[in-house]
């Protein structure tokens, strides 16, 4: 092989190697659970879930006109426990302000979630719902908990918080939605994938 051909072959292989490495590295560096939710800007998946205590199911479309804060939680999730007081205080503060808080138990039996809520406390206006078969969690693309979705007055998903959140983040997100802004996705911490960690 003459030197010119050898040089160009080497250059070509090196160039392909660099491009390949950049693309692969960019993909490896991305936690699939942190990709922007494809639901952002889309109509929120409908659900019809019963309260943890049982009783009349709650349909999402019955809440159209309200800002809905949809949080997936479980008692086995430390981050969920850490953010619980902030969810309660924010739900209380926005009570009667056209904001509905919904907390959906994830991968946990209703009795276990109810036991937890007895000690952790609950906001009077928040709807605590069961999700048999994780159908709603799957519909919302939940990778781990806590995850919190924000649905605007028109029923569109406009925000998502991955990880532990707090009252200021929750409230500021609601404020932004009420101003007509789309808060988008925010990562505030780690999540738990299953009761086993």
């Amino acid at each position: 092989m003459n030197s010119k051909a050898l040089r160009w072959t080497g250059l070509g292989i090196a160039a392909i190697g660099v491009i390949f490495a950049v693309v692969l590295a960019s993909r490896f560096g991305t936690n699939p659970g942190l990709v922007d939710s494809p639901l952002l800007g889309e109509p929120a998946p409908q659900f019809n879930l019963s309260p943890l205590e049982g009783g009349e199911p709650v349909a999402l479309d019955s809440l159209q006109g309200d800002v809905v804060v949809l949080n997936f939680f479980a008692s086995w999730c430390p981050e969920c426990r850490a953010e619980h007081d902030d969810l309660v205080s924010t739900a209380n503060a926005f009570e009667d302000q056209g904001v509905t808080f919904i907390q959906v138990a994830y991968q946990e039996s209703p009795p276990a979630s109810l036991d937890y809520l007895v000690t952790a406390g609950r906001a009077e206006s928040t709807l605590y719902l069961a999700d048999p078969g994780s159908r709603t969690a799957i519909a919302y693309g939940v990778f781990g908990i806590p995850e919190t979705y924000f649905i605007d007055e028109t029923g569109t998903v406009v925000g998502k918080i991955i990880g532990e959140t707090d009252a200021l983040t929750l409230g500021a997100t609601i404020d932004a939605i009420k101003r007509g802004e789309d808060p988008g996705q925010k990562v505030t911490g780690s999540t738990q994938q299953s009761p086993d960690g």
Binding site: F20, R27, G29, S89, T90, V142, S190
Partner: protein, 330 residues
Amino acid sequence: MSNTNRLFAVAIAVMAVALVFLMSTFESDTDRVEQLGQAIKCPVCQGESIGDSPAQMARDMMALVSQRVDEGASDQEIVDELLASYSGAVLLDPPASGSTLLLWLAPAVVLVVGVGVILWWRRNPTEATQPEVKEEKPRKLAPILFLAGSLAAIVVVAGFFVQDRDGPNTGAAAIDTDNLEEVSNETMEAVIAANADHPEVSGMRLALAERYFEVGDFSSAFPHYLEVAQSPDASDPQAVTALVRLGWMAWEGNREVDAAVGLFDEALAIDDTSATALFLKGQVLWCSATDLDEAASLFGRVLEDPTLESDTRSVVESDLDALNAGAACT
């Protein structure tokens, strides 16, 4: 063998072949569920399919896939439904589009380049194997370039790996009292309630109370001023402001002279130069006609403050003139 028998044998053979063909192409619903289960990634697992993972989420997704198959949904419909929730992250095989397209194209590109090099080599065997002494320097360039390219690739890969692989992490928002303009009263109430024991919450309490005070909502402002006034974590200026506001609300709301004066005195015990405490105490004593001399003295002390803003100074001077002239307070 008679013609009839021959025809019969041929028919049997054709039927057997057709049966074998049909059996090979027939796909039961169970097979479809299993195949889909192998193609869909368990979102809570590390590189496992929902068909292989023992995780509850994987089992729930398998049950959903099975249900959708029973309902007559096509494979593509089922995959599309999951893509709508999870995006491409739910597929074990990366999609042949966007940045992952390279993964699919790379083997073909390498194959074509490799075949091209071999073909070229075979056509020019002498040239390819003969050493070329004349161009020694350029020949050395290729491995150097290759090495540089590889090093660059390693650096780029390492750069990506040392980054936070969990992506951007904004962290839990701290209590920020410097930028509260866009924060609603409800948000501030929520933050305060969730951080009632936090030593820095007094700033937000005071900011919220001031909002209520400015619009005349004394009943909402009162509990927050009271908390700040009683909090050991409140700074002196914060405590003075809270006490002064409480004193003024006691006077404005209920005409409680003793309570108001007592609160102003508490503020002055912390900062005896507080112009607001001195002025408002003077106002209450004047307006209630409790002690006009003390009122005049307090106004005089306010005017001793060289840092007093001119607008405030003219108001105090005007009030002092009216008081000395025996006029009623306005």
